[in-house]
């Protein structure tokens, strides 16, 4: 099968009262697609829609040549025939089955149960817990059992809702590696919903940013991280120091926090918000934005300095260990080199939403 043949494509329009999800998404087979976005933006809802647990109001979902859902053609494949490995955000383990049987629940026919159970138990560091019921497990143990259950079912599509959120740092690291291995072994379209940007950087080949039910940006991980299309996306990507700009021209930006020089070449670039990467600025009592140092943390390779600007908005600066380390309470100034400052629009348009087949249907439904 060619990659194109088994990729997952969906055009979806769906509403909860007070919330609308409306997007067009393609998930290729190779590699991992991360889906990130603010809390409540619709990530879990999208996974439920893809799995067939909710029904879109319009649109279609295709997995390779197989149509899973098509509003116009009244096709709606039952969840069990979609063979989706869905990790629920709240795990949803079977309370009456022990760990081993939870994992074995979705095993395809023909797979040797005992071998598979033993394999997954050891892969997810759950050895010794095979006979436990879920209510005698810790939060992170439950999450791993749910992950094992989803992976062990050898799904045609993997949809994981924050699979590593409840485990500690080093286990998380191990699980990421394991996950990469598993996905490399059996490539299927894979969506990884996560709030941990390390997960995205380390595991994902592509990333989609979902904001308010719309896909705002998507592309290869490094590209998206390097060039967020607007300030909202930048915030989701963990950019620090996004300062709102009240007025700007091609040379200066002003806000409640003060003013900074700009160097905009093209007049088309908007600077509703400016981003100051934390390793750009230097402390300099003589020039720049007035600040108060709030807290200093040794981050290993550098010092993280949390300061407050004149309007009390927080700013974070990373200083090399070689630089002198300020003490909390110090009032000084911050010199921000003009070339490090990145201008961003506050909000850009969503990625196009295409409904070629179903616009007629839609029109009929809402007269």
């Amino acid at each position: 099968m060619s990659d194109r043949e088994t990729s997952l494509e969906a055009i979806i329009d769906f509403s909860h009262p007070g919330f609308r999800l409306c997007l067009n998404i393609q998930v290729p087979t190779a590699g991992v697609t991360a889906l990130i976005g603010p809390s409540g933006c619709g990530k879990s809802t999208l996974l439920r829609l893809l799995a067939g647990l909710e029904t879109p109001a319009a649109g279609h979902i295709r997995h390779g040549d197989q149509v899973w859902f098509d509003r116009a053609r009244r096709i709606d494949l039952a969840p069990r025939h979609r063979r989706v490995g869905l990790l629920f955000q709240d795990y949803a383990l079977f309370p009456h089955l022990n760990v081993a049987r939870n994992i074995a629940y979705g095993l395809p026919r023909g797979v040797d149960r005992d071998t598979a159970i033993a394999l997954w138990l050891s892969r997810l560091q759950l050895d010794g817990l095979a006979a436990r019921r879920p209510d005698a497990l810790s939060g992170g143990q439950r999450q791993r059992v749910a992950l094992a259950r989803a992976l062990a079912s050898e799904p045609a599509v993997l949809l994981l809702d924050e699979p590593f959120s409840a485990v500690d740092f080093s286990l998380r690291q191990a699980l990421r590696l394991l996950f990469q291995e598993v996905v490399a072994d059996r490539p299927v379209p894979t969506i990884l919903v996560t709030h941990d940007l390390e997960d995205v950087r380390q595991v994902a080949d592509r990333v989609g940013v979902l904001i308010d039910g719309e896909l705002r940006q998507s592309g290869p991980t490094a590209e998206v991280f390097a060039q967020p299309c607007d300030a909202e996306v930048a915030r989701v990507l963990g950019w620090h120091n996004l300062l709102p700009v009240s007025s700007w021209d091609s040379r200066t930006a002003c806000g409640a926090w003060g003013s900074l020089p700009l160097a905009l070449d093209e007049p088309t670039i908007s600077a509703d918000v400016i981003a100051i990467p934390p390793d750009g600025p230097r402390l300099d009592p003589e020039r720049g934005l007035p600040i108060e140092v709030v807290r200093v943390t040794d981050m290993g390779g550098y010092h993280a300095v949390w300061c407050r600007l004149s309007d009390r908005s927080p700013l974070r600066v990373h200083l090399p260990r070689s630089a002198p380390c300020p003490t909390p309470g110090l009032r000084t100034r911050l010199d921000v080199p003009v070339e490090t400052i990145i201008p961003l629009p506050a909000r850009s348009a969503a990625l196009p939403f295409a409904l070629p087949l179903t616009t007629a249907t839609l029109a009929r439904r809402d007269p």
């Binding site: 039952a78 069990r80 979609r82 949803a92 079977f94 629940y105 979705g106 259950r149």
Partner: protein
């Protein structure tokens, strides 16, 4: 005077009836509870129909069933003419009576449990490739087993104690369709309180053991 003098075969008969309805309740109770927990057309009607026998005096239900299943009845007539089969006065009549009396007590707790607890787990099971039936057996039943046990306790308990329908359909024929509860009923109405008390103790002990058993099952 031994228990056997009071009602020689009633105990055995009651146990047989209880055994058969227990199986019927398991099947019908879970099936109806599962069905009623999911939306489908006319669900409300079925829901009401299941509970309705509860509110009528059993002896009246017995009467109507007798009219329906008697030789002149809409169901009993054809059955008798074509198959030569009479429901009334037979063992199946006792089972039918016990079944009708207890069914709503089994269905209701199961239904509300499925509605309340099993929803998300049913979804998980579907995404893991299991069909309705597999999900029912592998997930729904074990997850709500506590409620199933409660429902069966009520249903079997009621069918033990039921007199009205049993009397009309089964005939209350001494030694043949006289269940344990009918025997108690008969002894009480004969003024034979001594026998009635003995039989009541027997029925009490029997029911308690059944309850314990069902509770154990619900805890597993």
């Amino acid at each position: 005077m031994s228990l056997l003098d009071c009602a020689p075969t009633a105990l055995l008969l009651s146990l047989q009836v209880a055994g058969v309805v227990l199986v019927l309740f398991l099947v019908a109770g879970i099936a109806l509870g599962y069905a009623l927990s999911q939306p489908f057309p006319l669900r409300g009607l079925l829901d009401a129909l299941v509970s309705l026998p509860l509110v009528f005096p059993p002896i009246a239900i017995g009467f109507f069933l007798l009219m329906l299943c008697g030789r002149h009845g809409a169901i009993g007539g054809p059955l008798h003419e074509w198959l030569g089969w009479d429901l009334v006065f037979s063992f199946p009549a006792l089972v039918l009576a016990a079944f009708i009396a207890g069914l709503p007590l089994v269905v209701k707790p199961i239904q509300s449990a499925i509605e309340g607890q099993a929803r998300e787990l049913i979804e998980v099971s579907c995404t893991l490739g299991k069909g309705r039936w597999e999900t029912l057996f592998l997930v729904v039943i074990p997850v709500i087993r506590r409620h199933i046990a409660a429902g069966l306790t009520l249903g079997v308990g009621r069918s033990f104690g039921e007199v009205g329908i049993t009397l009309m359909l089964g005939g209350n024929i001494l030694g043949s369709t006289e269940t344990l509860s009918l025997a108690i009923y008969n002894r009480v109405l004969d003024g034979n309180f001594d026998c009635a008390t003995r039989l009541s103790v027997l029925l009490g002990v029997l029911s308690l053991s059944l309850f314990m058993l069902l509770r154990r099952l619900g805890r597993l």
